[in-house]
Structure formats: structure tokens, C-alpha cells
């Protein structure tokens, strides 16, 4: 018998398992749902972050959080909206952490929307314009136009009122218009 006479041991105190086998059942359920939703999660992270490696990291971070918070998922059939919220938060935090400089992107937009702009260049212009949006605006734009979610579904996933989603989308589109129009103006001057 080991006699412990130090409170150091107390840091090792853990909550005992309630039911035999609970841990393995939990892991099994998590693994199954994670596997089912991984591709979709990865694609959403790609759409928001525009970067493959960052999307992988964000998806992994989100699944780690989901595992840690597994007990709060009360209905496995609702895994997707529950997990989307975790994933979107992970992506948004990564957007926030990116060091960005306030730059004038009108030139970039103008080049991409020039007279001979190809479809690829159109996409580059839109991508550049999206990059000027705030993280919150980028998230709602991706959920609306990549995932094709309704306003209410977005609100549920973000935990904000539907009116706020509408407001963010409204302002995001307005800013995208402004960014693309600025590009058009620059192109005309040239």
C-alpha cells in the first residue's frame, strides 16, 4: 500500500466513471459521428479560411473541443448544428488571429475585374473582396453562400438572433459591393 502524505496527490483526483463501459461507448459514438461529418466540416473550414492547412487545423481543433464537450450533446441527431457552432468559432478565432494590415485592395480587385478578366480572375476579385470583411461577416457569408443555410439555421449555429444574421449579411454584401465597385472605378481610370 502506498501511503500518500502530500496534497500533491489531490491533483490526480478524477471523477469516477458512472457506468462501466461508458467511456468506450462515448468514444465509439464520437468516432462514428466525427467520421460521418469530417468531410463536410473540412469543406466548411476551407470555405471560411481559404487555406487547406488552416482548415485542417481548425477542423481538428473543433473536434477536440467537441470531444471535451461531448456530454453537452444531448441528441446525437443534432450533432451537425451543435458541431458547426464549435467549428465556426474555431474558424472565426483563426481569422481574428491572422495579422492583417489595412490595405487598399482596389488595385487587386481592378486587375481581376479588368476587360480581359477571366472567370478565375472574377473569383480572385470576389476572394479579395471577401478577405476585406470582418471575421464575423466572412463566417455568415460562407454559411449562407457556401453552405446555403437559411438565416434561422445560421442564427442557430452561431447562437445569435436571426436579425443579427440578417444585419451582418446586409452589411457584408454592402461592403462586398463597395470593394468590387472600387475595383471597377480603378479599372476605369486606368
Amino acid at each position: 500500500v502506498v501511503v500518500k502524505q502530500s496534497t500533491e496527490v489531490i491533483d490526480l483526483a478524477e471523477r469516477p466513471p458512472l457506468v462501466a463501459g461508458e467511456g468506450s461507448a462515448r468514444a465509439s459514438a464520437f468516432t462514428r459521428l466525427a467520421d460521418e461529418h469530417l468531410d463536410k466540416a473540412y469543406r466548411l473550414a476551407r470555405a471560411i479560411l481559404h487555406d487547406e492547412l488552416e482548415a485542417q487545423d481548425a477542423a481538428h481543433d473543433a473536434f477536440v473541443v467537441a470531444w471535451r464537450k461531448w456530454d453537452t450533446l444531448r441528441d446525437p441527431t443534432r450533432f451537425e448544428p451543435w458541431f458547426d457552432r464549435i467549428l465556426v468559432n474555431a474558424c472565426r478565432d483563426r481569422l481574428r488571429r491572422r495579422t492583417r494590415q489595412a490595405i487598399d485592395i482596389s488595385g487587386e480587385v481592378a486587375l481581376a475585374t479588368g476587360d480581359h478578366a477571366s472567370r478565375t480572375e472574377d473569383h480572385a476579385a470576389i476572394g479579395a473582396a471577401i478577405a476585406t470583411l470582418s471575421p464575423d461577416h466572412q463566417v455568415v457569408v460562407a454559411m449562407r453562400y457556401f453552405r446555403d443555410l437559411t438565416i434561422d439555421d445560421i442564427a442557430t449555429r452561431l447562437g445569435i438572433p436571426a436579425g443579427t444574421v440578417q444585419s451582418r449579411l446586409h452589411h457584408a454584401l454592402k461592403k462586398l459591393h463597395a470593394a468590387l465597385d472600387a475595383g471597377d472605378g480603378e479599372r476605369t481610370q486606368r
Binding site: V2, T7, V9, E14, R43, R74, P81, D153, G159
Partner: protein, 750 residues
Amino acid sequence: MNDRELEAGLRAFYRAQVSETETAPLSLRHDVAAIPAADSPRRRLRGRGRGLTLLAAAALLLVGGAVGSGILRLPWMAPKPSINLETSAEIQAFVLSSSERLAQLPPEAITTLDSHGFMDRIYIDGSGAVRIERYATADATEPTTSMLLSGNSFGRTLIVGPSKVWVEQDEAIGQDPRTYLRALSGLLVINNGSDCAMTQNDLDNGGTAAGWRSVGAASVAGRPAHHLACGGIDVWIDDETRLILRVLQPDSEDPGNPLAGGFGPIEVTQIAFGDQPQALFDFSPPNGVASMSLDAYDALCRPGQDTVAFLDYPPCSGTAPVAEASPTPRPTPTPSATPSAPSGPSDCTIAPTDDGAAGPWTWTPASRTQDWPAPVRPEPAGGASAAPIPPTYIDPSGDDGSNGRSCVDIRDVTANTNQVFFDLMSNPPHNVDPSKAWIAYGVVVDENRDGIPDWRYGIDDLPQIPGDGAAYHRAWRTDLHTGRTDYDAGPRIDHLLRGDPLGEVGDTQFGTNYPAALAAPNVLFRFLATFETTTGTGTEGARFDSPFYVWASEIVDGRVVATDFAPDTGWLIPMPGDTNPGGTYVAHADDRLRLTMTIPNGWTTDGRLMSPSHPDDENTGLEFRVVDQPSEWACDASGNGVKAQIGPTVDDLVSYLEGQPMIRISESTDVTVDGYRGKYVEYTTTLPDDNCHGPEWPLDTRQPGNVGFTQEWILDVNRVRLVIDGFAPKASDPVKAELTRIVDSISIGP
């Protein structure tokens, strides 16, 4: 490019960026599959300790679901602590005393609850012996596990095969058993930094307690306490006994948008001082649990190894000995000589009726398909009057016909043509079996406006489902003329947790929140959902525009013990959100502060944010916030989102704002709102709102874009820092005057 072209361009852009058939890299799939093995359930508690991951608001909501408004709404006039913590030395000494004085805890019974619904009961006797029992839910009557520390011995339940066994270990403890209490119960605090020491061990390991700061006085479970914070951990320590009463750690990874359903705080919900039954401290196995010697346990489950006191071990396979036929009866603890003030939910705890005989309305499984058995509100001959609902309808308190059933005492009602929701004086208890306490909330509608009720909508509690939270409920609608009831027998997930905005109930649909839910403290009935399509706005559900009243009721032992209607007479008419008639409005800055004010005609309201409805005023309004986190999202001079470290006082926040290079700020002046003192500043900027690539300029806010001018009232409300922002695209005397009039009308309460 018009909107439709832009939307089409965005869809094409995303399709080009990310193929619908793209799959995650194999390496990511492997990494995700390995997560459970790398982060097992045993480590989860430690992760939670380090990362109790919610911002205070959502965490409080969670616990609101678990234990109700005792946590959600702190007692307004908190008992004043006896000591002042002003200097850093005083704060450090106080924090360290929380571990130093564990061995001085008097005989008492302590109940703790965590956001997972686990409840611990801790008993301490006069010799310092400690018994800790863990329950799967707050309503469970038998503990799942038990442990006992007395003298130098330690005993606990462990799992062998499908059974529990009781294992005792002599000479296992070298210190007073009470010194282990915190670690072995849920009140474990993980050291979160070298300057956040809480124990002598932390100091011995080179740490300091210099990082602790005092947030202010508080009350937890009716006990005067000090709220202290360090390195993202918040603890509330009993002023007198120095016991940790609450632990909370916000998630630095998830600022500004907490996850509903995430980890919540651990909190003492009840303390009862006084001698406890001595039989609780006898080393004997719990009812139905066989005793097993330590040697036998080691031989079966840990061959070749020693069993270490305190450490938890996974279930081991094998055959447990059979329990004795007549186990030692478990004594009933004697409650307290000096019980603490009851928390919110205890106001609605189950209490039998006087004569003990069951009344006619006992819940049965068939009740899931039926209307609430008690009648609707009586109506006067000729029908009662109907009037547009004010921005918030305030219902009198204590009008539910009971003596303190606060969970069916409606506090205020808000509605528009999409939904109606209402607040209660406290939330109902967690996971209550309706056969014991049947608690329902609903809406009665006069569809044809003849003064006679036509429909009764309702939600009520369901029998407990092991492992589930209180969000599960059933929903129904009854035609009061024919008696036909359409129902969703449940379990029904709260609206805010649903992927769909509404849910089917027979041939109609509506969304609901049951107020014990994890996601929201309100009762909600949502009838109409709107969503955008590429061809315009779509809707789902039915417009809610008929006169209505709301109701709450509780049945115990087959009898109605409390019913509240709001209003008690007359009907309220929902108004579209943009045609509020003006009048009294209640906003919640967070779960601690309830702001009642008078708003002009036509203002739209959205909880913490409100604004005039006129399109020209799109970016004008008021926002209410509590700014009291150890660090707040803000924006640095380069336009990057950063976590700003701001001291706890009003002056600290003023100083922080004065240091922001992207705004031009006025000199602060003294101001008083509803008797609470603070500072008033105005600031302007010509920078675009996305200069910081987010709404976190200069502090995290929900204000819309194009805000160039801000009036800011920063108030000390009993040491809670309330910030009221009046915002507009530019400075304008009429707008300033209108916003100031609203702020001047504010009264602040819990």
C-alpha cells in the same frame, strides 16, 4: 453588379474554391479518430478545470438550467463580506487561506452542482472526517459513488465487473481529511499560471499569488463571498470559512461567442452548518454494495501493483463479492442548524400537499397526449379588453396563488408577430419528474378576437431520461372548443438548440424553449420563422397576431399548487417588431443586470441592442454590456484583434479608452444613472468599422457598422461594470438627446 448577381458570384466563387466532393485529408481523419484515445474521459475533468470554457454569460445560463436562478440572478443586496480586500497582499493572503483553512471547516453538509448535472454531497463531522457522495443528477436519491476519509483511513466505492465494491485503505492519509475535500469533490481549481498560486504546494513549486485580483463582493448560496480572478480563472471564496463556493474559467479560445451547452461552473448550492449523523462517518459499505479487501482488490484488478488512495481506477473485470443480505441502513443526514438562504429552484421544489392524498390531476404517461388538466383563465361576460403589448409587459410578482413558487411566477412578457417569450422569477428545478411536480408554461390565444379563448399552447416537463438535461420537454396545442389536442409527445429539444426553427405539433408547428433549458432561461413559443432565399424572403409557420395571454402552472400530488396568468385579466396584442408602441422595456445587460427603461414609439429591441425603426436610423441605437472579464476583445493600433487587459474599475476602463489611438475621446465627466455612479465619455472616429476586421472596436460589441460617434456611460453597479453605449453614424444633438432621455429613464435591478 446587383445583389442577385453578387450572390450568384459568391456561390460560384465558393464552388470553385471548394468542391462538393472534396474530402478531408487522410492524415486529418486519422488525427480526429485518435482524439478519444489521446484525451480520455479521465483527462476530461482536468481539461475542464483548466478550461471551464464558457464566458460568464453562457456559463451562467448553463447553470441556470441546472440549478436555476439562484445562480442566474445573484441576490441583489448581497450580504456584505466582513473583510475588505484592497491591497495585493490582502488578496494574496485571502486566496491562500482558502487552502490553509480547509482543516478548520466546521461540521456541515455541503451540496455542489456542476453544469453536467452531477451533484456532490459533502459531510464534515467535528473530528474532521469527510464523506463525499456523488449523485448522477440533482434529484437522484442514491449516490453513484461514495468515499470516506476519517483519521488516517480512506474508503471508497470502486467498480468490479458489473458491480460496485467498497474498498478501504488504512494508513492512507497523512493530513487532516478536510485538506483533501476540495480536490476530491468538484471544487478542484487547477493552477492556471505561475502567478495564480492557491496552495502552499503552488508556492513551493516557485509560483506566486501575485496575479490574483478582487472582482468584488458577491453572494453564493446565501453566503457572503469574494469574487477573485487570476489567469482566466474566477473563484468565489466564502468570506468566513474560506471555502471555495464557485469556480469558473472562461474560455480564452472562444471569446465573444460562447458555446451553448459547453462546460459550466461548479458551484456550492447549499450549505447547512451543524453536526451530521455519526453513522455517515462509519467505515461500512453503502446499501447493496459488498465490501472487498484492499488485498483482494489489488489481486483482482491491479496484480503486482499497489492501489493508491484517491486515485480513480477504471472498472476492472472480475467478479465482485456478494453484498450482505442486510446492509447497514443509511442514516438520514440532519440538516442544519443554520441553513443558508435557498437558491432559486428550491422555491419550486417538490412539496406534498397537506393531507397527503392525491388529487385528480396526477401525471400519467397518457398525459403526454392531453391538454393541461386545469381550466384556462376565467373570462368576464362579454370578454375582456385587448390592447397592444408594450415593449415589455411587466407582471406583478407573487400573484401565482402560492407561497413562493417562484418558478411559476411570471415576471415579464415580450412578444412580436413571430414569437412570445417570458421570464420567470426563477427557473424550475432541473430534471423534475412530472409525476412528482408537473410544471407547465403556455400561451392562450383568442384567434377570432371575441374575448373567448380559442387555443391553448403549452410545454411541460417529462420523466427523467438518464444522462439528459432539462431541455427535453413535450409541446402541445389544444382547440379549446373541441377539446382536440395536437401534441409532440417529446422529448423535444429547445428551439435554440434545434437545427430547425420550428417543430411539428400535429398539423401545426412552433418552436419552444422550456425554461430549465441549458440554452436559455426564458419560456419561448416561436410561431413564425423567416428566412431568405435568392428570390426573396420565405416564411415558415403562422403569424402570431391574435390577442393572447401567457400562463404558468404547477401540479403536485394531483393538485394545482400555483398558477400565474399574465396579464391576470385582458388580452395582449402582439405588434410587429418595427412598430413597438413605446413604453416600458426590459433589457438584460447580462444575467446579473436587468434594466427597465422607457423607450419611444417605434424602437426595435433585441435583448442587449435596441434601435429606432426608421431606415435612416439604421446605425443608431443603444447597447448594454457588462465589461468585467479579465481581458476583453478589442483592437490594437494596427487594426488587429487583441485581448486587452483592463483593470476592474470604471476609471480603468476610461483610461483604457483614452489610450486608444483610433478614437478621439472627450474628457470624462461624472454621471449617475439610477443612483449608480460612473463616468460619461463621448468618442468619435472616421475609421471604418472594419478597421479592426471585426466588431471588436474598441471593445467587443454588437453594434452595426458605420458607427462614427459613441456616447458611453460606464457605471459601477455594486461592483459590476455596466457599459451603456449610445451609437450613431455621427454626432447629432437630437439623437444624443433622445438616447440620453432613454438612459436617464433606466432603473437597474437584478
